[in-house]
């Protein structure tokens, strides 16, 4: 059944369905049951399932992650929620030294069916500790799975698949995605893996990660005005990475722009380009877009420079294709930021 939902509502629906389907699913994290309910994603869950299944955590990200791992080993399917991805750095020992290795060192006898939801913060001065994306870092460790929903449909499908997966899965939800609104097919539970071609095209491949998928879609619409067909690929899963779909697209267009919601150095964009090049794909044009190589500044003018947008994707594409600069004065960029005026 298709319903028009915001991303927040889609995540909420996914939790409702999984908690109703499997009573071993519990949801917890700092401030999870407060009146804000993690930007609305937790609405109604306390009321429907009770405090044993939906509860707040002390400020103990390391211990709480270990508690989630232990509960998973003992038969529950915990969903651990963090209001910011940056807080995962406190949980790295448990995620990477404990959860990631368990299936391997038990020779498949044990598994950790843990889901971690972490928000990627952005704008109104979130600053360096409330804006990180940790998917590059966490994808690095064998044993972890990492997914990044870019739309309400993916917010629903990827979360349901993550909860059902027997492995530790980290789901990065971008703060700006929360106010996206679109039709969601509630029968689509996953897949957890695989890229999705959101818009076919023959001239240029735009690979987007997380919120940058939306920027790629806006850039593709702009480029279409001058007859450039940009194929937009949503990565969806950073680990495992579906490099084959990306290679096929880049092989078809021979021009690749990877737009990551992260720094470039040693990040997912570097991995994608490596896997395309190692796959023998011939490229006439290649570019990566991501955060500026600095901490995220709080002041608005510098924040604007920190993040690439559809404008930068368009300019990069023009350079690659030898096109004159388009008139973008009528286009609005970073439009969704106008819906969020802070504080948190």
């Amino acid at each position: 059944m298709n319903r028009l939902l915001t991303f927040a509502q889609a995540v909420n629906l996914a939790l409702m369905e999984e908690m109703a389907a499997d009573e071993s699913v519990i949801v917890f994290g700092v401030d999870v049951p407060d009146h804000k309910r993690t930007f609305g994603s937790g609405a109604g869950l306390l009321e429907k399932f009770g405090p044993a299944r939906f509860f707040g955590s002390p400020l103990s990200e390391a211990g709480a992650t270990g508690i989630a791992v232990g509960a998973a080993l003992a038969g529950l399917r915990p969903v651990h929620v963090h209001a910011r991805s940056d807080f995962l750095l406190l949980a790295m020992n448990q995620l990477c030294n404990m959860a990631a290795i368990k299936s391997y060192v038990s020779n498949g006898e044990e598994s950790v069916p843990l889901t971690v939801r972490a928000l990627i913060g952005r704008s109104w001065g979130q600053g360096p500790q409330h804006s990180k994306a940790m998917h590059g870092v966490l994808s690095h460790f064998p044993g972890l799975k990492v997914v990044l929903p870019s739309s309400p449909q993916e917010g629903y499908s990827l979360l349901r698949a993550a909860i059902r997966d027997p492995n530790p899965v980290i789901v990065f939800e971008h703060r700006w995605c929360y106010s996206l609104s679109d039709y969601v097919d509630d029968g689509q539970v996953g897949p957890l893996e695989g890229c999705r071609i959101l818009r076919p095209g023959r001239d240029l491949t735009l690979v987007g990660v997380s919120w940058m998928v939306q920027e790629c879609l806006q850039a593709a619409a702009i480029l279409a005005r001058v007859g450039v067909g940009a194929e937009v690929v949503d990565v969806r899963s950073a680990q495992p990475l579906d490099a084959e779909t990306i290679r096929e697209s880049a092989g078809k267009t021979s021009r690749l722009i990877v737009a990551d919601n992260d720094w470039l150095f040693g990040g997912l964009s570097a991995e994608i380009v490596s896997q395309v090049v190692e796959g023998g794909v011939f490229l006439q044009g290649l570019a990566r877009l991501g955060f500026a190589p600095c901490s995220c500044p709080t002041t608005r003018p510098l924040e604007n420079l920190f993040y690439p947008s559809a404008r930068e994707i368009v300019r990069t594409a023009e350079g690659m294709l030898g096109l004159p600069a388009m008139d973008l004065t009528g286009d609005v960029f970073n439009e969704y930021e106008r819906r969020f005026r802070g504080p948190f």
Partner: protein, 329 residues
Amino acid sequence: MTQDDHLRLYRTMTLIRQCQEVIIREYSSDAIKTPVHLGIGLEGISAGVCFRLPPGTKSFGQLRNHGQYLALGGELDAYFLELYGKRGGTGGGKAGSMHLASPAHGFLSTSGIVASTIPLAVGAALAHQYRNDPAPAVAMFGDAAVEEGEFWESLNFACLHQLRVVFVCEDNDLAIHTRGADRRGFDSISRAVAGFRCWTGEADGTNVLDVVALMERALYAMAVTPMPAVLVFRWTRLLEHVGPNTDWHVGYRPQPTPEALREADPVWKYEQDLTRRGLGRELAVIWAEVHDQVEGSLERAKAASYPDVGDLLAHVYADPTHLPAGRIE
């Protein structure tokens, strides 16, 4: 404790001791290519804590885990196979000494990162509370773990939710080569945790019957009123931190007198106790049975085959069609 109880307890202790002695004997053959954090002197705590755990108990430990593994009933062949890095080991050879586990006996995780399995025990206890399962969870760790933040986060959460989890501190006053006085801003672990809503107790870990008694009191108290317990058992590590040798000669701690060495040996002390009770002959029979078991298992491990390239990438991720052991279903 009936006579059978005593003999069963002794069998566990001599099994642990003889396994450690065999590893000490064999280590120089360089076939056990894994660091071994042995528990000579720890046997009273391992055997005593695990002696009467309720069915369904979930246990967690750290790198000095051999005694806990064996006391929980872990398979002997799988133990030696793992130490020798062979197929059929607890982790298929891929885990090594620091990550022994036995899900079939509720022994779910051990780790080389100090304190890192303590929150896992709390999580297991949370799962039990959620399911109205009265079985406890047990976390065993050394005294240095109390300095790690994850210990306090775990204790806090367990006390907040009044979970049935036993935090067992094996206190030998050493973190590798550094004494407690050089690590701690407090004098007593028990007093440091006293402000939390939990049961506490201390005992001499070299007297196995004292360990059994304290553990029993703690389990009884938490069976009546769900709450965590923090138990501190003192012991002396008689070997180096890792490896098969003694290291008194290095000098970070004084060489003990022969009397002090005997006082620190829980196996010797229990043998003396049971011999005084007239069980000397039974002890000898048990010792010989365990000896044969251990030597047989060792030989099988030596002869077994190694994992090969096909095993390297196996189980990086869990297979969704495989139902893992140790989970509540």
